[in-house]
Amino acid sequence: MMEHTDYRASILADPHSTDAELRAHREACAECRDFTERLLRFESRLERALRVDILTKAAEPLPTDEPQPVADVLPFARKAGHDARAPRRWMAIAASVLLGVAVAGGIWLTLPQQSLAADVVAHMAGEPEAWQRTEAVADSELDQVLKDSKLRLKPDAGVVSYASSCAFRGHRVPHLVVQTPSGPVTVMVLVHESVRKPMRFDDEGYRGTIVPVPGHGSIAVLMRGLTVGSGEIERIAARVDDSIVWTR
């Protein structure tokens, strides 16, 4: 049997290791199991600590008629003659942030959950094709996407028109589009992201909510456009939550 010190050294280097020998030792040794549980609690703090709240400027819509110079096309392009490190710019940004917080009652800027919402919206920009499909995906395709996250959907969940296992914040997560009477709804099942309470967001033309799922992280549900009210989105989120069957 593996030595305790070897197990702990290995698990300290990679707490999420799926190595069979490590798993066997953990199952046989209560002390190392406790050690691992404490380490995983710390790992959760570490993950949250590393996700500092970085404010990001989302992409401007691209012109479709003629090519633009790179500096006009890319949202991150530095403008000519502009010193990005100029203190005045940061003072202006800081002032804008403070003003925004004061005016909006601190709706959007500081909490980790809000950073999570920003990342969800940013992910949407990376997969615009997800909204285009309306036909149901094959059951086998959907099963494959859900399998890794240890869940399945009840038959009455609605037509799933897009299913992809996406890289998000260092994990693979199911990214689904479900056709509902209110229109297509994107669902991201975020088993590695915990939120304390439901959080609404409106950003970059998306309206949505992230709701906690005790023991299974959270679910992000969002729609394009602002025509559907937040209340309706929360009702949709509740239906989505109800239609998920966790298999672990």
């Binding site: 290995s10 300290l12 570490l46 691209l62 790179v70 991150f76 990005a84 260092g170």
Partner: protein, 175 residues
């Protein structure tokens, strides 16, 4: 005409790709530099370099490590271009305090301060593993290290962090 439409489509896809990865790249650059303004600059310059070199990205699923490599190189270039003054790590923590303390709980802020004080050689593989989701082999490739060397650094990084954050380390193996 088709070339033009293809160019716009290509630009759109590339922009969307960069946009989706930008938050993680900014966080990576921040933990690399421990300086928010510098991280913004590094990522901006990296995106421009990526734009110019986008033809070398043959597989979009490999975009994340590809962009991350560009960010690391760009960060290294900032030191070639300019010699930054030596700064005490406590000053760095104080300088970035508003962002580090933006956590709801004090214990998260404490972990952030402890990460800031980790030596670069331990902090970088830890960020690659925890934040970017890299495997040991991917970290080894990125940092040009052996697999065992990466594991040793990750082990030391967590030991130091746990001790700095007041965790019970009595059962931690000694080196």
């Amino acid at each position: 005409m088709n070339d033009e439409a293809g160019g716009i489509q290509r630009r759109t896809r590339f922009q969307a790709l960069c946009q989706s990865l930008r938050p993680d790249l900014l966080r990576f650059a921040f933990w690399l530099s421990r300086d928010r303004a510098l991280a913004e600059d590094v990522v901006q310059e990296s995106m421009l370099r990526a734009w110019k070199a986008q033809d070398s990205l043959l597989d979009e699923s490999a975009a994340k490590p590809w962009l991350l490599t560009i960010v690391r190189r760009e960060y290294a270039r900032t030191f070639e271009r300019k010699r930054f003054p030596t700064v005490d790590v406590d000053e760095l923590v104080a300088k970035e305090e508003p962002m580090l303390a933006a956590a709801e709980e004090q214990d998260i802020a404490d972990v952030r301060a402890a990460i800031m004080k980790l030596p670069d050689e331990y902090r970088e593989p830890l960020v690659l593993q925890v934040l970017m989701g890299f495997s040991t082999a991917e970290i080894a490739r990125e940092l040009d290290l052996s697999g065992p060397a990466v594991l040793t650094r990750l082990f030391r990084a967590r030991r130091r962090l746990r001790a700095a954050c007041g965790e019970d380390t009595t059962l931690d193996p000694q080196e």
